[in-house]
Amino acid sequence: MILRSALSLALLWGLLSCCLLAAGETGRLRRRIVLAFSFTAGAVGMLPLLASMPGDLPFALLRMFIAALLLAMVLVSSAALLSAPGRGVRSTIWRERCAGWGRKMAPVLFPALNGALATAILAGSPSTSRLTVVAVTVVTAFLVASLVDLLINMLPYRPRFTTLTLFLLASSLLFCSAAFSPRLDLFAPLSMKIMKFTHDFLHQFMESMLLPDHLFINPPTWNFVGFFFSQEIGFWGALLLWFAPVLLVCLVVSRTPLPSVAHVRQGARRRSLIAAALRERRGLLIIPAVAALVLAFSVYRSQFPDVLYWDPAPIAVEATPAGDIAIPLKQGELDLRDGKLHKFSYSQGSTLVRFFVLERGDAVVVALDACAICPPDGYGQGEGSVFCYYCKTLIPLETVGRPGGCNPVPVPFTSSDQTLRISTLQLVNLWNSTVQVTTKNAGGKR
């Protein structure tokens, strides 16, 4: 799986370096050196972060950078739309100045971030030798970049880049690279945030506008309102924001005024000038179209991550006459201290409770196979984390056992004589109260 990720990342890096090379203004050799240096600096610079920072912190920092890049893209493309040509001299000067800064910044920023991403994704696992992975990554990256560059140079048509379209494609390729790791993927957390924002906004709006509650509203109206409280709104809202830079850049391009030809007195000449301008404008839409494809692929990666999770079938357990569940820490092949997720199920009447036991390094933890926010789709175990199947949130192992957010709901237990004891009364009550709330809460967290 690492090999497949590495190949995909190398291909994305190849495309990124090619578009940076194609859009650059300085000499080709100098551009190559800048790209190579920036990529290596990013890749190597990530190593001390991974080594020194605990748990998911380096990944969270990197994801924050990528999120900032998405926000910057939305803002920059909105600003470009607002300051479209024809808005006055001052606006034109600003636009050109910003474009100049952008062109200088892009060959350093994007390769560095890409290098850091590659290291984080490929060397993030403690089981691999980080230095070797980084060295192999850097060498492969240069080979692939050269190969893709060679192939692209053979193409008969080369699309024209503006600073805006260059930033758009480069950041889309970065988002796509990030989607190869659930810990760096941006789309899933973005859809959660949007779901939360929409829910809160609508709730506040209804209260502020003194709108009646669902008790009084007829079902068709409430079903319509309910859509904005459902999980779909998070997905569609995130999709809108995800593709917003592409849409805005397309608008900027399509709203670029055609040249004034009022002074040309030959109709044929006028038409040919306008046709040339329209052709050029359409040509500028190629890069946003490619960016849209890359972004669509990254959404696919985010929704269907190519990661296998450890998710054992729950073992059915029964209560003792005293009303407790007793599970030995080690019995035959079953070893609760092996660091793996062990799922159990307990049934009482029509209620089937799922819970798991996990050795977290420092202690054994017992938790429901459900959180306090999402419908109880359960958890799988990945590298250094458990993964909520419903909202696709990664919960670092060191926080499993703590209540709150999308963390599995902790279950009180006692441990004696190498046996865990859980009160069935507490377990069933905890499951019922948790599941009742999350099932009612249309769509839960996502």
């Binding site: 803002l75 809160d200 003194l210 009646p212 509203i217 009022a262």
Partner: protein, 415 residues
């Protein structure tokens, strides 16, 4: 002073002010989201108590108002220019403007433009033609929307006062600053066919002078200076509870048992609690509408269940010395008494926005405004011309270019 004022006005009327303020609040929201899960609620509280944030909101409203005034002025100038009465600053009002040497045959130009469906104004040495409808009105309504919305939000966030009041049928209603009234009647009925409500709630309040006022669900009615905003429906059972060793207590219990299935607790002496839930049966009438229901009671000591049973309306349940009697029940509505005039502004903003969008779409796509004019500048011996459009601009421009060609051709033919 004049310069400072001019700078202030130019900042306040700048078209980037609205997006800038929105981006500022977006950054603030993101910053708040790092510290709390309830980012929006926290942000609302922050803005409501921060004069600077309120000034920013007011600035946006002022910006929209100034934009509205500027739009009206340029619309009047454009109107005058279209009638051939005003030519100053004409160029800035048109997408394309050009002065050419040539001969303007006003009648022929007017004939061509009329044949293309334009409405033509002809004066001595001047032809103007327009087609379709201007987006002026939806634009004005949009500016008004922004202005009212931000005024409403600023007012609502800074001045809103809300007080939760239970309205119990048959009981007096005491709200500070408002003459006391009695909740005479509360009714709930189904309204099949209503476009957004499924039930109609009617609350009748009677004043000391015998005046009666009716309040419904939406739009909320005004009671004195505030709105009466019904939040939840509830039924208050009149319970007589007998506890061994303690005695008998009787009274209406203001607990949340409605809709049926909802459980609430009455605390008893010591560690005892009485959990109550309305019994649901096939085909039973809505307990709020009928005012009659049976209860299922559970007596707990701590987390331990001591007994449970059903209490019919008007009946009694007894066990281990404890007794519960359900003597009667009253309807009540948990209501918020909200003092907030920002709501009115936001309602008006919603109406203005709806009107703006309703007008914009057909005007922009079916009847876009197109305009062009040709005028003889006798001082410079030139024909001054310009064209603009709010849609189908390439068709408009093509006709404009053809007419310019014709004007120039006329001159070369004359030479």
């Amino acid at each position: 002073m004049k310069r400072v004022l001019a700078t202030a006005v130019s900042i306040m009327s700048h078209r980037l002010l609205l997006p800038t303020v929105c981006v500022l609040f977006l950054f603030l929201y993101i910053a708040v989201a790092f510290f709390t899960d309830e980012a929006l609620v926290t942000l609302i509280q922050l803005i409501g108590h921060n004069p600077l944030a309120l000034v920013l909101l007011a600035l946006v409203a002022m910006n929209a108002l100034l934009g509205l005034i500027a739009d009206i002025r340029s619309w009047r100038i454009a109107g005058k220019a279209a009638a051939g009465l005003h030519s100053a600053g004409t160029e800035s009002n048109f997408y394309e403007a050009l002065a050419v040497s040539g001969r303007l045959d006003t009648d022929e130009t007017a004939r061509i433009l009329s044949a293309e469906g334009y409405q033509v104004t002809v004066r001595e040495g001047f032809v103007a033609a327009r087609r379709g409808w201007s987006l002026f009105l939806p634009r004005m309504l949009w500016r008004l929307t922004i202005c009212l919305l931000f005024v409403g939000v600023a007012l609502s966030l800074s001045l809103r006062q809300s007080q939760r009041v239970p309205l119990i049928e048959g009981e007096a209603l005491q709200i500070p600053g408002i003459p006391p009234r009695t909740v005479e009647r509360i009714t709930l009925e189904d309204v099949p066919g209503h476009w957004f409500l499924q039930r109609r709630l009617a609350i009748t309040l009677a004043g000391a002078d015998g005046q009666r006022d009716n309040y419904g669900i939406y739009p909320p009615g005004l009671l004195g200076p505030g709105f009466l905003y019904p939040r939840y429906l509830a039924v208050a059972p009149l319970l007589r509870i007998t506890e061994p060793g303690i005695g008998v207590s009787e009274g209406y219990q203001l607990i949340m048992l409605y809709p049926p299935g909802r459980e609430d607790v009455v605390a008893l002496s010591g560690d005892y609690r009485l959990k109550l839930v309305i019994l649901t049966r096939e085909g039973m009438a809505d307990p709020f509408a009928s005012g009659r229901f049976d209860l299922h009671v559970r007596l707990l000591k701590g987390d331990q269940l001591l007994f449970e049973g059903d209490v019919p309306f008007g009946g009694r349940f007894e066990s281990s010395g404890f007794a519960v009697e359900l003597l009667d029940a009253s309807r009540y509505v948990v209501t918020d008494f909200v003092n907030d005039y920002g709501v009115l502004c936001i309602w008006m903003a919603c109406v203005a926005a709806l009107l703006a969008v309703t007008l914009y779409l057909p005007l922009r796509f079916l009847w876009p405004h197109r305009f062009m004019f040709f005028s003889i500048d006798s001082e410079k011996m030139q024909i001054v011309s310009g064209c603009s459009s709010e849609g189908k601009s390439r068709q408009n421009k093509a006709l404009y270019y053809d007419l310019l060609d014709k004007i120039c051709r006329e001159e070369s033919r004359n030479r």
